[in-house]
């Protein structure tokens, strides 16, 4: 017997939906605010191009010696990785859920030219995120998230960050794609397109490609995308009959959400992945009472400060407590049961199955 579909919070006044005004001219974009998504990606590509030019013309840039070149490479790799991490993990993420362009062909090719600058074939990223992470959030089959120990805790933050890309993703995607011949065929085609695009900098200058192309991709995945995945779901439980809403953490920092396409509204996004990113703050407002009632973690800062807590912690228990201490004061959570750290609740079970020790 299949599990019943778990409930989700119902927003007051319904789900916000974009409505084009009557008589509005339809352009290339599916939503007028998606111009920011396109602009973000084009600026990121431009930044890569400028960094390549400076590397190839050090005398014109005034980079006189190896130390100055090293300083430039360190700075450029960090900043390019930061932009590329957001560009794929958040910006392309929006496109994976709701196509940015009205043209299917344009969406497909812009997508391919989007994720290669973060070290990903577009199809691979979309499959991992939509078909695995969203479809099976926090369940044992959700291999995009950190592994859980017997106590229900996520594995070590640093281990997950270093292991997940490309190693763990590659192994799991290999298994997933090989299970279905059609899927494997499509995956091989997309991989070939990705490799053709991704290898371009190596033809220009192999060392430059390693320093200003591969290294930013490493930073993007290990230092920006992985920490985001970690804090979005740390301490959460899979949807269950008794705890259907505690699958994600929400982050309210104004600066963070302004610069990260509202990805902080993560609980809302998982329950309503079809809602446009500009409408998530409004959806959050409509869900506020339900989020408080369900005891969802709604944190005052963004991912950066939250991941700093885990990144700098030597003691995991202390990190969990510090993380819970970031809860926004307007969203009080029920006190933890004696002997149970709230962020470590591992008692919830799969949807439809009775929890072992759940008190509701």
């Amino acid at each position: 017997m299949s599990d019943p579909k778990p409930a989700k919070l119902e927003p007051e006044g319904g789900v916000p939906r974009h409505q084009a005004p009557r008589g509005a001219r339809q352009g290339l974009l599916s939503h007028p605010q998606d111009v920011h998504c396109v602009l973000f990606h084009l600026l990121t590509l431009l930044a890569y191009g400028c960094a390549f030019w400076i590397y190839l013309n050090p005398e014109k840039a005034g980079l006189d010696g190896p130390y100055e070149m090293a300083a430039f490479v360190m700075m450029a790799a960090l900043m390019l990785g930061w932009s590329a991490g957001i560009d794929v993990g958040v910006n392309y993420h929006n496109h994976a859920h709701r196509k940015v362009f009205r043209s299917r062909w344009l969406s497909l090719w812009f997508g391919r030219l989007w994720t290669f600058s973060g070290g990903w074939p577009a199809f691979f990223w979309k499959f991992s995120h939509v078909n695995v992470h969203h479809a099976k959030t926090l369940e044992p089959e959700d291999w995009t998230l950190p592994k859980k120990g017997a106590d229900g805790k996520f594995e070590n933050y640093h281990y997950y960050s270093w292991a997940h890309w490309p190693w763990r993703y590659a192994a799991h995607l290999w298994q997933e794609f090989n299970a279905f011949p059609q899927l494997r065929k499509k995956a091989l085609r997309e991989l070939a397109i990705f490799l053709a695009l991704w290898s371009i900098p190596f033809f220009i200058d192999p060392l430059m490609a390693l320093l200003l192309w591969v290294m930013p991709h490493f930073f993007a995945n290990v230092f920006f995308m992985a920490p985001g995945m970690y804090v979005q779901h740390v301490g959460c439980v899979p949807r269950s009959a008794t705890r259907p809403f505690n699958h994600s953490n929400t982050f309210l920092s104004g600066f963070f959400n302004l610069t990260m396409f509202n990805i902080g509204y993560h609980n809302e996004h998982h329950d309503y992945p079809g809602v446009h990113w500009t409408e998530l703050p409004e959806l959050h407002r409509r869900l506020k009472a339900g989020l408080i009632g369900a005891g969802v973690r709604v944190m005052a800062p963004g991912y950066y400060q939250a991941s700093w807590v885990y990144g700098m912690a030597l003691d995991r228990e202390k990190a969990d407590r510090r993380f819970d201490g970031l809860q926004h004061p307007d969203y009080p959570r029920p006190p933890a049961e004696p002997g149970r750290v709230p962020s470590l609740d591992a008692t919830a079970t799969r949807p439809g199955k009775a929890p072992a020790t759940e008190t509701g």
């Binding site: 005034g62 450029a76 409004e282």
Partner: protein
């Protein structure tokens, strides 16, 4: 109610428009949404003006401050 096309249904943005007027809101929105690639571009191109060490220091300080506060 959700705002019509051309206006982000973001209460923060609406509040900014009411306080500051249209052009500043537009600048804030475009700069804010693309903050990281814009800063990346400025720091990379800034190498031509002020050299790599200033860009490296600014990038490192910015990373540290944002990791602590955002």
């Amino acid at each position: 109610m959700i705002e019509p096309v051309g206006v982000a249904p973001d209460r923060r943005v609406h509040a900014a428009r009411a306080r500051t007027g249209g052009w500043l809101r537009t600048v804030r929105l475009y700069f804010g949404r693309s903050f990281f690639p814009i800063v990346t571009l400025v720091l990379i191109l800034g190498v031509l003006v002020w050299g790599p060490w200033v860009s490296l220091i600014v990038a490192t300080v910015m990373w540290f401050v944002i990791m602590q506060t955002a």
